[in-house]
């Protein structure tokens, strides 16, 4: 890790990228749609808002090092307040 932390960042950007890509690795085998939803739900449910803000700041600066599907998922975090759900779990199972 670089050890250089931008002002206001909750943690080292390289660690944020590593953690976000690890989540991306897990959801990679899911089909497009549920894959991004799964990543978004995980970030929304398990990450402190400062960590999410840090990730979005990195994406705003180009998202260097982040997987494309992680960037696509992080964009979904920008939901309007009224659409916030209480449950943000794994992708919903397919219809029976």
């Amino acid at each position: 890790m670089s050890g250089i932390v931008a002002s206001g960042m909750v943690m080292d950007p390289e660690r944020l990228v590593l953690m976000a890509n690890q989540i991306g690795d897990f959801f990679a085998p899911y089909p497009p749609g549920p894959r991004e939803e799964g990543i978004r739900n995980h970030l929304r449910t398990y990450w402190d808002p400062r960590m999410r803000a840090g990730l979005r700041a990195l994406i705003a600066e180009g998202g260097v090092g982040l997987y494309p599907h992680v960037i696509a998922a992080a964009v979904l975090l920008d939901e309007p307040l009224r659409e916030r759900k209480g449950y943000y779990g794994p992708p919903k199972p397919p219809e029976i």
Binding site: M1, V5, G8, M9, V10, M11, D12, R15, L18, M19, Q22, I23, D25, F26, A28, P29, Y30, H42, R44, T45, Y46, W47, D48, P49, R50, M51, R84, K85, G86, Y87, Y88, G89, P90, P93, P94, E95, I96
Partner: protein, 709 residues
Amino acid sequence: MPNPQKPEHSVITTCAYCGVGCGFKAETVGDRIVRMTPWKEGKANHGHSCIKGRFAFDYYNHPDRVRHPAIRQSIDEPWQEVSWDVAIAHAAAELQRIQRVHGRASVGGVSSSRCTNEEIWLMQKFVRAGLGNNNIDNCARICHSPTQFGLTSTLGAGAASQHFDSVLQADVILIVGANPTEGHPVFASLMKRRLRQGAQLIVVDPRRTESVESAHVKAAVHLPLRPGTNVALLDALAHVVVREQLYDEAFIRARCYWPEFEQWMALVGSDRYDPDVIGPEVGVEPDAIRAAARLYARGPNSAIYYGLGVTEHSQGSTGVMCLGNLALACGMLGREGVGVNPLRGQGNVQGGSCLGSWPHVFSGYRFVTDPDTRNTFEAEWGLRLDDEPGLRLPNMFDAAVAGTFKGMYIMGEDPVQSDPNQQHTIAAFRQMECVIVQDIFHTETTKYAHVLLPGSSSLEKEGTFTNAERRVSRVRKVIEPLAGLADWEVTVKMMNAMGYAVHYDHPSQILDEIARLSPAYRGMSYDLIDRVGSVQWPCDAHAPEGTEVLHVTTFPRGRANFMLTQFVPTAERTTDRFPLLLTTGRILSQYNVGTQTRRTANVQWHGEDVLEICTDDAELRGVKDGDWITLSSRVGAITLRARISPRVHAGLVYTTFHWAESKANAITTELSDWATNCPEYKVTAVEVVRAAVVPARSATAAQTVGAPS
């Protein structure tokens, strides 16, 4: 001459060491505890015990016990003993000052599985109601947090599906990444009983442990995989189940989502996870993988027991999901003799997990983002609660290094010794303005603390523990708290000092509050536990005396879920510079980082941590049995004595972490589980060389300052 040790009184209580949670009679003469006798009516142990619970209790009265509160302005100053009132007022004032200057989210807390359910509950209440954020975590973060995530994702409940006695009806026992004979010896005795009756055993472990072959134990199949490859191996087992159509279609159609199963089948059934492909990759014979899969799938009753060898990996949560998937595919859930069962490390780590001592969930694993759940807590506690998840323990340290996290209240934890990448943890503590540690001994972490609050051992207070089979048992006060207050009383004082007024006359009232706010505990009370001995959650109107086996007719979400478990190799790789893989574990006579057991006569059985290395790797390095060696990784180096051992194969070395001076976590890395940040303790690339300098330290350092974990 009369026997001076002859007990005058006895109190029935629960052992605080491992997650088995044995019932004991603590026998006293005056105010001294003279003997711990296993309680025959204890439902977890049926009168059995191990050498920790039975003999390692003298720590309670050790001269090292912290008996007075103390404060200091900086970590470079000596401690100043003060009254309880002064210490608590100072601690609260500091937390309030930090929040005024750096914001509400700049402080947090950590609870301990050494403490009771009631104390863990109060700690998360302190953070949520007293500090106004969700920066609360517990030590399961660094051991079984992937269990909660992985089992919740698949089965819907982050806990063991069975009771311990269920193993007596298992035909096949699959142990993955656990060594019950050392870590959970009383459960291991029960398991051995079943093995003597003819049950078959499969062991997945890099080492040839006692669980593979010892008295009364001989595994039918041992899969000695390379550390870090659990998911690949478990997916290969699933591959055999899929390709040979060993799955239970009726169970899957009735209890799961068939399209999800098909999706999973397409992944694990692909050529990528063929044993002929995975075997060489993970270091296991392909035919052994096939044999294990067939044995497990054909049961008829197959039970999975697993430990930290599954969870403490960068794919720890995925590994747990693999186990859930496997049990679902083979229909091994919902009756006696089957199931998926985490062997929890600490006496109350299940309680720490299910009672909301997490930054993202309330009790019962209900998300803080869920307004309905939040509303019930807000109504009971009388204030608005934060609707955003807080920082996890490793992220608190990351944030501290970044300068945005400035204060912590730590109950019975020693992160400096027990958390990975020790240099990073110390750097984090050095950045904090107020660290409050509540513990029974000085620890490695108290070196970086500003307020020291004396803790009380489990022998000094009333409460309950929840063991690895979801069994809630009473902890009863045997002697008075040495420093005058039980831990729960200290946290209550801290809450009041922070301006959040609370009052409890007795811990039973705290369990009553837990029951009001936690569906799985709804029927729990001290009266019920006293009447029936112990109670397994869920305990409610449908199961007024608790539940032994989960998932009998339905899963918590109705149906269970197959999760896709692609193998992703860890970033921790061997190199020319660090060509060996280190993995870690425990020994029977000592407990975790040894704070308690190292202060007892149990040190005679295990006086130091050693590095197990195989003959070939030792000879290659000119190392002989008993030599001092330097063990180095990319983040640090430590010195240990070498032991040539047939239990490890070429390329693998192993050590325990019971002694503070071994500093095992000076070499573990920052890598962690993708879902939970549980550290990857089980995989570190290392090199071993003969030590140039022999360390000047005692091999029986019973006085060493240590820590609970």
